[in-house]
Amino acid sequence: MLAPFMTLAANRIVAGDAVPIWAVVPVSQMIPGLAAIVAGLALGLPARHVGLRLAGPLVGLAGLLWLLVQGAPALLEGAGDYARVSPAAGFWCLLVIFALLMADAITAMKPGPFQRALLLTAVLGALSVVLGSGALAPLSVMQEFAARRDAFASEATRHLWLAFGSLGMAGLIGFPIGVLSHRKPALRSAILPVLSFLQTIPSLAMFGLMIPLLGWVGATVPGARSIGIAGIGFAPAFVALVLYSLLPVVGNTVAGLAATPPQALNAARGIGMTAAQRLWRVELPIGLPVILTGLRIVLVQNIGLAVIAGLIGGGGFGTFVFQGLNQTATDLILLGALPTVALALTAAIVMDILVDLTRRLPKETP
């Protein structure tokens, strides 16, 4: 709490001056916010009762938000036309603390898949209400957003296409390979090391490698250029992401299909199921949670990796990150990074819910 709560800078490039939490707003406005934060910590940290552990961080978060909403315009007042305010280390630390407390309390409550879906919707709803209300508009990140409203929408779409499209493509390619590898151990021992090797290529190098490779394809294969295959842009980023995704997809498909007890498989053959029937009726349903876990890994990984696509003109939130790096505009970097983190977290939670739903069917009580 002693760390700077916000920073005030003369413009969007220079480093800002730190403002401690007690100087952000006039005392009259500070007291309710600070009280809420202290109350939040007091309730959230030691409480035995799970309800209190959940309520505490909520109160604390409200206090944080209050100080932010009140503080931003107050600091900007008379600070010049180009002045920018941003949350600083103190704010982020408190945010993380409250988020962790809340996550811990929710875990302790052991919510079922439907309750978790409900919680996720509530959190996302609250987030969109806060962002949509315009109360945070004075903040520097939001000003960067306001200046790039159209670009943000198109890069967000592009990012989703990169992440989900590569997931879909990896599924289309990887799933059949996984099924074949499951059937033929020789193929499995040939393919998995190759895919593991692909996984070890550093992401920057991989994206870099795509440039000459696809550039050559675009230049030599007739018609390739007209469907957008070139050394830079969407295609190389997409291909790189698909390559990264193959190992988790193939590996988890193989592991999932191998999860069927050998006796059940022997019985399935013995009662007259064909190979296809064994796959669809026995091996696949039993392996589904493991296979979905693989897709979860891929999705979260690709949402993150797609940021790098910005470097080779692939678009996505990475565009903002690299623009921001070039301009040393921290808040522009955040404009790319924060939605990526939110997206990855949401995707992880949604996929976990799906995995749980598929795992539920055979109850695991003795």
């Binding site: 007890p261 006796q263 059940a264 022997n266 019985a267 399935a268 053959r269 013995g270 009662i271 007259g272 199921m273 064909t274 029937q277 009726r281 026995v282 349903p285 039993i286 069917l361 055979p362 109850k363 695991e364 009580t365 003795p366």
Partner: protein, 311 residues
């Protein structure tokens, strides 16, 4: 009638099953018994073509199994294995109805059949239909596994150590259940076991396998009294021999009129039970009851006479 005609299975260079021929009558239980590696399981799997024969063939009611696609053949033959092999993600009802479903029965017909089988195995349908295998005891899982093998009323049922994973008390009950159900349905059963006790208790005929060869195929009494080779004699066991022979004879066969004291035995019990009762309580005769009424007695002398007939 099942005819196994000079069937051989060679793996790499080993003869897992070596020129086995045998004929199995409809409506009987044949138990194939042998040590591990004797080829007994391979022989069973050759019948429903889970293994393809290197040479020879199997005929079911005159038709060669090689004339039918393997998966179509297997749907006509019941199959139950050690450790039940149930599908963990399917309910009891779906597990039992698996073969009828493959055969394209209507839903109503499958449901009715599932309930009928659960009743047959003394498991209340309302209680068990919707459970998953992991929610059953070992004995219940095994019964569901056997029920699945019976579901489509197959002409022939193959069982590979179906009771191997059960504890002794539950195993004895499961064997009695199987006997009762087989007699009620008139099914033909071929069962594989390593347990000679089980073979003698269940089999109308016992087939002893050793090193891939069929060394003796005969009634239990003949296996005990006239073992074809030393190996068969070893399997029966010298010490156990008289007791095993006595266990084949029901009390009713040597019952006589006359008085006897002490706790009675039911008429379905066998001479080994009677001998045991005599020795333990120091009696020379035990009374026999039928539906709670004393109908006669069995004496120690009669039991001894019976044990000596082969000599």
């Amino acid at each position: 009638m099942i005819e196994i005609d000079n069937i051989t299975k060679i793996y790499a260079s080993a003869r897992a099953v070596d020129g086995v021929s045998m004929t199995i009558d409809t409506g009987t239980i044949t138990v194939i018994v042998g040590t591990s590696g004797s080829g007994k399981t391979t022989l069973l799997r050759l019948i429903n073509r889970l293994e393809e024969p290197t040479s020879g063939e199997v005929r079911i009611n005159g038709q060669s199994t090689l004339d039918v696609k393997p998966h179509i053949l297997r749907r006509r033959i019941g199959y139950a294995i050690q450790g039940h092999g149930l599908f963990p993600h399917h309910t009891v009802a779906r597990n039992i109805g698996a073969v009828p479903q493959l055969l394209g029965w209507s839903r109503d017909k499958i449901d009715a059949r599932v309930d009928e089988l659960l009743d047959l195995f003394s498991m209340a349908p309302q209680e068990f239909r919707h459970r998953y295998p992991s929610e059953l005891s070992g004995g219940q899982q095994q019964r569901v596994g056997v029920a699945r093998a019976l579901a489509s009323r197959p002409d022939l049922i193959l069982m590979d150590e179906p009771f191997g994973a059960l504890d002794p008390i539950i195993r004895t009950r499961a064997q009695e259940d199987l006997r009762r159900i087989q007699q009620a349905l008139g099914s033909t059963i071929i069962l594989v076991t390593h347990d000679m006790e089980e073979a003698i208790r269940l089999g109308d005929r016992v087939a002893v396998m050793d090193g891939g060869k069929l060394v003796q195929h005969a009634t239990p009494a003949e296996i005990i009294t006239h073992p074809a080779t030393d190996f068969v004699a070893d399997m029966v066991g010298d010490v156990e021999r008289p007791l095993r022979l006595l266990s084949l004879t029901p009390l009713a066969e040597v019952m006589e009129d006359g008085p006897a004291n002490g706790a009675p035995l039911p008429r379905e019990a066998n001479l080994r039970d009677a001998l045991s009762a005599c020795l333990w309580t120091g009696r020379s005769a035990v009374p026999i009851t039928d539906k709670g009424k004393i109908i006669g007695r069995v004496t120690l002398d009669a039991i001894r006479a019976r044990a000596e007939v082969h000599a």
